[in-house]
């Protein structure tokens, strides 16, 4: 790809800029931008880089808190976890590239999010991923699953960061746009966080990492456009990852930081060299001069346009302190990385690029960054489903068949086929992962007593049915996941995946989901510290179900006091914490057993959520309880079945109560936990004192999952159903 000869509004359109945005550039510059300059504007003003449609609404999130060191706006959020340590984390999408080229798209998604974390001075210690695929019956789905999973594993395994958990959903709404959201969590010294703002003029700008090639040009622009039938042709805009280079880059970057040479640093992610140098200079309120002839190049004859727009992977840009370039050279040579001083910071407030001795770009930085367009896109209140009349929800004709069908449905079946391809134990700190039977992943902090709980969550069918309640629920469920393992939920990263924001109904989904999330974050003291927005997830005019994924981190002061759901023992009494009203709207029972996708999602009572969660966490912390599972998809029946399977012991559920058994067992009421104890009476008394609804709902023992007079399923049959679907599906069955 080369820059066109003339700079016209037509070229701007090809680059994804609107006609009025082109006019705005003309007004800001008082001249026509040259083709290279137009390229810079097009990527910096893309939705992906500028958040021009979402920024106004993202401001509604609470972002401060006593533990927050760095909120949104940097490469990743930074949160204090005591003892001079900080956790650094972010979640980011790589949806469009993964649909076009699943292996490389997913792999480079993992690479990109890791760079965001180690750029801040943190060593990556855990990865999670949230995946949404189309209908399993869609002809593309199997190939996409295989490619994405292999790509995530291929990259994370090689770099040597454990992939601890995540979620995988299937729905026809993602047939034309899959979602690949990757989260990375790192550990840093709280006093040694690195930022991107260039601190002064006259400092050397050092490029290091892989060479720049012609791959990924205009990736950020692609990520900000809808797909059509020609999207296959966008394959050249997908980057190619090299996890070995990333591993070297991590070690070299951390060594360079430890040497004391780094004044500011930024990875080259979306929009490559352009966004990294523009952001560093822009945030530091300085200028930057680059000599592009010095950029390490993979191929000959690259134009300035290609170098500035390339999204070649595994590259970093650092501004070094005066006189410290020799430290850099020594470290880069040790790790075998290409490196070059490609320019200096200036006091001009401009970005000046030279190529073959000529100035090829000279722009003021303001219009590229701070003065980028900010839209208040028109939106309408999105339609929401009416509450479902429970009287119209029939019980299963065959209870046993219904249980087996639910536990084997694509969303609930075991994802062993996926997570056995991920290294979950490297770094030797993994206490709980996808295999463990726990609601969140758990890693020790550097081998000590302290641990971090990590999760990712969203229930897109709830958000589709009611964006505000669904947004609330995504946050609440992530908070619940962390609580269920004994963690104090401390902060959130969000990954907002939606359709085209230029359509008022989609914009309405975005606005209302953000408002719901923000309300839950405020009520639960759960600040948002980083995030990513992925819009234009549409193909042929059909948008994905709104999917605001919530990644979250919790703190466990002493990992000896934590919980999972694989520790059920014979004779334990099962206690249900939280109130059950039989909420069946948009439930999995309704979808999978009755074939209906309708009804208002279960509302989240945030006060009850907090009360119930604090009570359960207190039980775990006091050592009174170590077997806990939160209730979510499929309700009590599925939570209990999962607990029985993970613990390899049968259990009997009692259904006596005011609710019809199917509403009680499959209702998806929020804010609930299933806990197990050999000595329940003290727990029940404590709950009553705390104003928490609690009831005994069963007992562990035997080798069947059963409810008297309703069903009795041998555990092994349940296991075969749960474990069987995914391997059979991937084998082409």
């Amino acid at each position: 790809m080369s820059a066109p000869a003339g700079s016209t509004a037509e070229t701007a359109l090809e680059y994804g800029l609107q006609a009025e945005e082109y006019d705005l550039i003309m007004r800001r510059l008082n001249r026509e931008p040259n083709p290279l300059e137009l390229g810079l504007f097009s990527v910096m003003w893309s939705e992906h880089c500028s958040y021009k449609s979402s920024r106004r609404h993202l401001a509604k999130f609470p972002t401060a808190g006593p533990r927050v060191i760095q909120g949104p706006g940097e490469n990743a959020g930074v949160v204090d976890i005591g003892d001079g340590q900080a956790v650094v984390f972010k979640m980011e999408s790589h949806n469009h590239p993964s649909f076009i080229e699943p292996y490389q798209g997913a792999a480079t998604g993992v690479g990109g999010i890791m760079r965001d974390v180690f750029t801040m001075g943190a060593r990556p210690i855990a990865l999670l991923n949230a995946l949404r695929f189309g209908d399993p019956k869609h002809p593309r789905t199997r190939r996409l699953v295989a490619g994405v999973v292999a790509g995530i594993g291929g990259y994370g395994n090689c770099v040597g960061v454990p992939t601890l958990g995540g979620e995988t959903n299937f729905h026809s709404g993602y047939d034309g746009n899959i979602l690949v959201n990757a989260m990375c969590v790192g550990l840093a010294d709280a006093e040694k966080i690195f930022y991107s703002a260039a601190p002064a003029a006259g400092l050397p700008v050092v490029y290091f990492g892989s060479k720049t090639g012609r791959d990924g040009i205009h990736g950020a622009t692609m990520a900000s456009a809808e797909f059509d039938e020609d999207s296959e042709e966008k394959r050249p805009t997908v980057q190619v990852g090299d996890p070995f280079a990333e591993k070297l880059l991590i070690e070299a970057t951390l060594e360079l930081m430890a040497s004391g040479a780094v004044a500011a640093i930024q990875d080259m992610g979306a929009a490559g060299l352009t966004s990294s140098c523009v952001e560093m200079a822009g945030k530091g309120d300085v200028g930057i001069d680059l000599d592009l002839d010095r950029v390490p190049q993979r191929e000959e004859g690259m134009t300035a346009y290609e170098m500035m727009l390339s999204e070649s992977q595994e590259r970093m840009l650092a501004i070094l302190k005066p006189g410290r370039e020799a430290d850099g050279r020594r470290i880069f040579a040790k790790w075998g990385l290409d490196a070059a001083t490609i320019g200096r910071t200036t006091d001009t407030g401009r970005i000046v690029l030279r190529h073959h001795g000529a100035v090829v770009c000279d722009l003021p930085l303001g219009p590229l960054t701070a003065d980028a367009p900010l839209y208040d896109r028109p939106w309408v209140e999105p339609p929401s489903e009416a509450p479902l009349d429970p009287a119209g929800v029939s019980p299963p004709a065959d209870w046993e068949a219904a249980i087996l069908k639910l536990i084997a449905c694509p969303d609930l079946s075991s994802k062993r086929w996926i997570w056995e391809q991920y290294d979950r134990h490297v770094m030797a700190d993994t206490l709980a992962d996808s295999a463990s039977g726990a609601d969140a992943g758990v890693v020790r902090v550097d081998g000590g007593r302290k641990a971090l709980a990590l999760t990712s969550d969203c229930t897109p069918r709830y958000v589709a049915a009611d964006p505000f309640e669904g947004g609330k629920q995504a946050v609440a469920e992530a908070w619940r996941n962390l609580t269920a393992v004994g963690g104090d939920p401390i902060a959130v990263t969000d990954n907002l995946n939606f359709g085209n924001p230029e359509r008022p109904q989609i914009m309405g989904q975005i606005v209302r989901a953000i408002e719901g999330m923000a309300q839950a974050c405020r009520a639960l003291d759960f600040p948002v510290v980083s995030g990513n927005v992925s819009l234009y997830n549409e193909t042929g005019g059909a948008a994905i179900p709104p999917t605001p994924t919530v990644g979250a981190v919790g703190l466990i002061p002493d990992h000896a006091r934590r919980a999972g759901f694989a520790s059920l023992e014979a004779g334990d009494t099962l206690l249900l914490v939280g109130e059950s009203r039989g909420e069946m709207g948009s439930s999995l029972y309704l979808r999978e057993i009755l074939g209906r996708e309708e009804g208002a999602p279960p509302p989240v009572d945030l006060a009850a959520e907090r009360r119930n969660g604090d009570f359960v966490r207190g039980l775990i912390r006091s050592g009174a309880v170590r077997t806990v599972h939160d209730l979510s998809d499929g309700g009590l029946a599925i939570a209990a079945a999962e607990m029985a399977l993970a613990s390899t012991i049968g259990l009997t559920l009692e259904t006596a109560g005011g609710l019809a058994p199917h509403l009680f067992l499959f209702g998806e009421d929020q804010g609930r936990y299933l806990i197990a104890s050999a000595e329940p009476s003290g727990i029940i008394e404590g709950a009553v004192r705390a104003g928490v609804t609690i009831a005994s709902v069963g007992r562990a023992g035997g080798d069947a999952f059963e409810a008297p007079s309703l069903f009795s399923v041998p555990l092994e049959r349940l296991r075969q159903a749960h474990e069987g679907w995914m391997p059979a599906y991937m084998a082409g069955a």
Partner: protein, 220 residues
């Protein structure tokens, strides 16, 4: 007691090995860059850690086998110093010709990460003495190329000489005769595919790996 953990570009279990050895034996551990031409004086154990040395490009372990430090590792083993290659380290030892056979792509053609039960098939080696009468150990594997292969004659000889030290009870990768770990003819060089360095404390799911490091340190 002293151990060295070699760090190749792309090693990713070097820190794990260091902590595992320190925690389970109290030995002092130095990490040694692969370009070094000398090892720390007086080491009792040299570990080649897991990871993807040189990205596993060409073949897993092929380039690392040619690193400058490997001449020293070979010489140390000849002097009687214990050498353990874990996962990628096992692949490197095979590529370096210090152990027979090769590690091929897993039979299932996919990377596999899971806990495995191991039979400790020879309790008389310097790597297994501390297992005493424990014939069963649990560790996790994490590999894409862990499928041990050697010709029938070599396999017969390994078995006949008691050099198959660990065997899978539930083969995760198609390894010949369920082989998970072997030693060389001198008994000083161990290659093991599962990770003792991820199994050194009960909270990690198993502390059986600690026995391996304790065995070798006791033998020094």
């Amino acid at each position: 007691m002293k151990a060295a953990v070699v760090v190749f570009p792309g090693s990713n279990c070097d820190r794990d090995c260091q902590r595992a050895i320190e925690t389970s034996t109290g030995a002092r551990v130095e990490r040694v860059w692969h370009q070094e031409t000398a090892l720390p004086a007086g080491v009792d154990l040299i570990v080649l850690p897991g990871g993807f040395a040189h990205g596993d490009y060409l073949r897993a372990g092929a380039m690392a086998a040619l690193s400058p430090v490997m001449a020293e590792v070979r010489a140390a083993a000849a002097r009687g110093v214990a050498v353990a290659g874990v996962c990628n380290g096992f692949q490197i030892l095979c590529e370096a010709g210090m152990l027979p056979g090769a590690l091929l792509r897993n039979a299932g053609l996919k990377y596999v990460c899971k806990p495995v039960d191991l039979d400790v098939s020879n309790l008389q080696t310097r790597f297994t003495a501390a297992f005493k009468d424990r014939r069963r150990a649990t560790m996790t594997v994490g590999n894409g190329e862990g499928n041990y292969f050697a010709d029938e004659e070599t396999l017969d000889r390994l078995e006949g000489e008691g050099r198959v030290v660990f065997r899978y009870a539930g083969n995760p990768n198609g390894s010949a005769r369920d082989i998970a770990g072997i030693v060389d003819a001198s008994g000083n060089v161990l290659g093991i595919m599962p990770h003792p360095d991820r199994a050194f404390e009960p909270e990690l799911g198993s502390a059986d790996g600690a026995l391996l490091f304790q065995s070798v340190m006791a033998s020094a």
